[in-house]
Symmetry: C2
Subunit: 320 residues, 2 copies
């Protein structure tokens, strides 16, 4: 698998790309769009003045502004990269200023609620193609972005029924240009898939870190010292942006509660195996879960290097 983005496009795919909300994802989109020549002109919009100042200092956009309505005129692609709860309001605000034929998209981790909140505001002359690049780190803000964030990751498009095939294809080419594999599914199916592959994992990571912080018998200092036994891996995803994740849980409530219900049922069964000493049952489950890990590595969604020991930061694996 190639480790770098390929050659930049000779002709850009879009004339004017507007990114609204310049955090980890928004700034990574600007970086890869510049690096790969995906759009001729890059416009960054953020309501927070300190974020605008950082984006200017980083030099990752041609124009940086605070007002989305003023930014979108003449744009042929607008990608909204705010937390999920703000997307509907941004679409309502920019709607009167959009150019005919423009594509509005987003990067929200929830799709059903976003479509419900945004679609009523989309003018009939404009295409709405929601998207979700399944990529990220535990860091936030414009400085955290990098141009290879989407490389070999999947981007899911969830176009509403009756969407213009040309607009879907144009957005597919944009994400392919950013290095992503692209898949199309319904918003409802997206929300179920992400509930199990992302939302519930984050929820239980946040939860166990909270549980550990509240113990009386074990001090916080002990939890930190001995975190290399497994806990450490959970703190990584429990360090993700709080506002973004609050919005995800509030907006994908039904799918999250459904998947959490299944998780709880299975955990109760596991708890019972431990209580009753069912070693065979435990061994069977622990063997089955190894196979899934192997598939994830085989499909390039993970590196095979042993990372749990974190010897990557310790000068590499010793040959002896």
């Amino acid at each position: 698998m190639p480790e770098h983005l390929g050659a930049p496009l000779i002709e850009p795919l879009f004339n004017r790309l507007v990114v609204v909300g310049v955090g980890l994802i928004g700034s990574s989109i600007l970086r890869v769009a510049r690096h790969q020549n995906l759009a001729a002109e890059l416009v960054a919009v953020d309501l927070v003045e300190s974020v605008c100042a950082r984006v200017r200092a980083l030099g990752i956009a041609d124009h940086v502004m605070a007002d989305p309505a003023a930014a979108v005129g003449g744009a042929d692609l607008i990608i909204i990269c705010t937390p999920v709860g703000a997307i509907g309001a941004v679409v309502a605000e920019i709607a009167p200023y959009l150019s005919a034929g423009a594509i509005i998209s987003d990067v929200g981790s929830v799709k059903g609620a976003v479509v419900a909140a945004a679609q009523p505001h989309v003018p009939s002359t404009v295409h709405f193609v929601p998207a979700h690049p399944v990529a990220g780190t535990e860091y936030s803000g414009p400085d955290a972005g990098f141009s290879t964030l989407f490389l070999h990751r999947w981007c899911i498009l969830t176009p509403p029924e009756g969407s213009d095939p040309g607009a879907i294809e144009a957005l597919r080419r944009f994400w392919a240009g950013a290095g992503s594999n692209v898949e199309v599914m319904t918003p409802a199916h997206h929300d179920l898939v992400l509930a199990i592959t992302s939302h519930v994992p984050h929820l239980i990571a946040y939860n166990i870190v909270g549980t550990a912080a509240d113990l009386e018998e074990v001090t916080q200092s002990e939890v930190i010292k001995f975190s290399a036994g497994g806990f450490r891996d959970f703190t990584r995803i429990a360090a993700s942006d709080p506002t973004m994740w609050r919005d995800i849980f509030l907006h994908n409530r039904e799918a999250v509660l459904e998947m959490l219900g299944r998780f709880n049922e299975d955990l109760a069964a596991l708890q019972r195996m431990i209580r009753w000493g069912d070693g065979q049952g435990l061994h069977d489950l622990f063997t089955r879960t190894r196979a899934i890990r192997r598939s994830i590595i085989a499909q390039g969604q993970e590196t095979q290097a042993a990372d749990f020991g974190r010897h990557g930061d310790l000068g590499g694996q010793d040959p002896d």
Copy 2:
């Protein structure tokens, strides 16, 4: 913080070190003992002939044998690195052949049950100092070991009351020589601390991977494709050795069930916040958990590099 092991010792700490069970941990002990000159003579013991053959091929011990009773004569340090459930039987088997003054230790992730199973067999002429190096990777077997596995990690000693201070100090120096920080605590406290920092995290990781594998609405192929959203991080620890982990849960039952009970209570509260749309409560928890992550990084138990995007394997962070 230094990234490598320091200079080897001029004089070895022990004359003859016997490692019983040469998996990830046992083979890492042999490698670091050789690298740092912690013992003059290294003896590897494993019941499995194919493991002995690999250890011979790797050349990480001076002698490789299948019979622990035949190996321990003349040894001044014996470290048992089998799964937790086998430690008591190994101690019973080698007891008649131990030299006076020898130290028996182990590396089990559970201490109360190990002490209960092993101590009755320990001859009065021998010192028993159980230990647990809190380090590992998701890989198993003699090839998976490396000499820096224990570097900057904590090793917990749980000597029974009345242990010889000289024996405790000798074992402390051994682990310090392997690059570890060493702490002493009671077996019961160790088992509580590890239940929350290691055992319950592994249990919920195994559990969610199992839940995801059993869904009908979401295919296994989708789970694998979109695992970069968080699920991937759980599969890493859910790929750990099944026998080792079965034994841990069976032998630390009470502490695990106690911590799991707290985890479940907290998860029920979080579930309720989602159901009732308590955004403030979610945001508060998600903010609090960030602080713990920062402490873990500050204390050198984790690298600060954004790893969630796994761009380490993609040629490094792009500067633009």
